[in-house]
């Protein structure tokens, strides 16, 4: 047998076993418990049931990801913490959670207040049409002639204003529910928002919407949030790297995201 191959396999085995062999338990708020901040609901990513901040039931891509991270870190228990105000997740200061998952796009401004892991998902902006729109837009120029809607205070709204430049100013809504309600009622021709979220919402009630016309490439990255200076950051990065590298995250995504976004046309 090839000695170099044996050595390589041995090294790989060591790497594999490393997290399990770690001597000290990871420095979490409560030893043996990973407390994970959430901002429910976000269909596909995280939905559930809560009593104030306590989460009694949760499911979705980010719930599975949190459990996979805890397993990889050798932490036996996961407790979820609901933060109803998204702004408080990304505000500076101490946090009641060890990590938080809420489809948070990594931006330099946010990174000044909180710490981010390596990205776990690269999201483009999606274009979801209303039912019965006569022609499907094939370019950003065609999109700009439609009545567009988006969500205020998001990277999506910024993209609409700076890159799409619609003929009529876009209508902005305070939350996803109101925005999609307007699309269902035909008050918008198209909604521009994070592609994976639009794909999930459409898959839930496909007959309420027209097709996903495509994506606008932005490749925004969602990262795991941590309090600034968290000692967990390096081991969370390492665990996330392994979860991505071994295909675990792909399997989780397949379970919750029914639409293959890579097959959608790219609008330019």
């Amino acid at each position: 047998m090839n000695a170099r191959l044996v050595a390589l396999l041995a090294a790989l085995a060591l790497l594999w076993a490393a997290p399990l062999a770690r001597a000290d338990p990871p420095p979490t708020l409560q030893p043996g418990v990973l407390t994970v901040g959430l901002n429910m609901p976000s269909p596909g990513f995280q939905v559930g049931a809560v009593r104030a901040h306590g989460v009694v039931f949760a499911r979705g891509l980010e719930i599975d990801l949190a459990n996979a991270l805890a397993a990889r870190l050798g932490i036996p228990r996961v407790v979820f913490y609901q933060e109803p105000q998204f702004g408080r997740l990304i505000a500076p200061g101490p946090k009641p959670w060890d990590i938080a998952l809420a489809e948070v796009t990594i931006t330099p401004e946010r990174a000044a207040a909180v710490a981010f892991s390596i990205p776990y998902l690269a999201a483009d902006q999606g274009v979801l049409l209303r039912l019965g729109l006569p022609a499907t837009p094939r370019s950003i120029a065609q999109l700009a002639r439609l009545r567009l809607c988006s969500q205020s205070g998001t990277t999506s709204a910024t993209l609409v204003a700076t890159q799409v430049n619609p003929v009529k100013p876009a209508r902005l809504f305070g939350n996803t529910t109101l925005m999609l309600d307007a699309l269902q009622k035909g008050r918008c021709d198209a909604v521009i928002y994070d592609a994976p979220i639009l794909a999930t919402l459409r898959a839930q009630v496909p007959r309420r919407y027209g097709p996903l016309a495509g994506v606008i490439r932005t490749q925004e990255s969602y990262g795991v949030l941590l309090p600034t200076g968290s000692a967990l950051l390096p081991i969370v990065d390492e665990a996330l790297g392994a979860i991505i590298g071994q295909g675990t995250l792909t399997a989780i995504s397949k379970r919750w995201m029914s639409t293959d976004l890579s097959k959608l046309p790219v609008l330019r």
Binding site: M40, P41, S42, P43, Q46, V47, G48, A49, V50, R51, G54, V55, V56, F57, Q82, L131, G132, T177, D181, Q184, K185, G186, L201, Q204, V205, R207, R208
Partner: protein
Amino acid sequence: MMRDRLKGTALWCAALLALAALGSAVTAGASGTAPTVKVFFGQGEQLVAVSRPGATVQDALTALVAGPTSAEQKQAFRSYVPPATRVRSVTQNGPVATVDLGVGFLQGPAVDTTLARLDQVVSTVTAIPGVTSVRLLINGGTPLGLFPGVDATIPLTRAALATPNVPATAPVVQPGGQASAGTLALQQQLAGLGYLLQSGADGVDGPATRTALVAFQKWQGLPRTGLADTRTRAALATAERPAPIKQGPAGRRLEVLVDRQVVLAIEDNQVVRALDVSTGKPSTPTPIGSFKVYAKFARWWSVPFREWLLWAAPFNGGVATHQYPDVPPFAASHGCVRVTPPNAHWLFDFLSVGTPVNVIASSG
């Protein structure tokens, strides 16, 4: 317009409920038997109440989780509430009942049935006298995002769930292609045999021609391709107009042939049209038997599935003929008879309240 129709439906439902309530009150009073509760199960595209012994919210929920009897199942009653659902607690504060269910209630990935479950619970609990709304908890917690399009953080009423929250979908008009003599000849054959309307023989291939071809292929037992392939053309050359399976009275009537997935529109024992339809899938089959159209709705709001059904003619509780955008060449519905868009309006006009509908399992 929409509001008026809705009011009509609501009044009609209220009248039925009142009659039902009257009926049970009279029965209970006359015989002195135990009181009953109303439990709502799905039947086709609507929820319909059945009676069970009991008096409290807990009694009603226990009966709901137990599901329909086998006799009810034969009449297409179906519960979307999983049998594994645990009723953790029921409390009542004035007209608001708080119902705490275990996560078994959310079992399974199918979102459309999740909404139907919610509607079953709300309808059943608010049928208890004195209860007007339901605050639902899952494992003791307030649901967030578990019921798409429904804010379940507030107490829910049956009226709120039964109120349409989307406009009826406008039909999508397909751009017509080029007319051709070959297509025209094919269409004339199909129209001559009752599969296509004479007015549909315009030489342009489209959805009306395809659904007529599928109806012909279903009747003939050919592969359901919707294409004028060699076998289909050969069969067309010698085919005769379909004949009714059963002889019946003079006038208009329908035969729904479950085995062939075809509806025969019959007048004076002659087949006027043979239509491509999709009936109830194996888990929710269309009940076999003789019925009559009891109402006609140009648009009918499906309460459990929260969508508009166009050109609906119910003939057995929540079971109706109605237009649907998706009519696959096999049985796929919740128990109703789905009709393709090119034919639905025609069938609606053909039917009257009282038109006999015979659902036949085997057409030989």
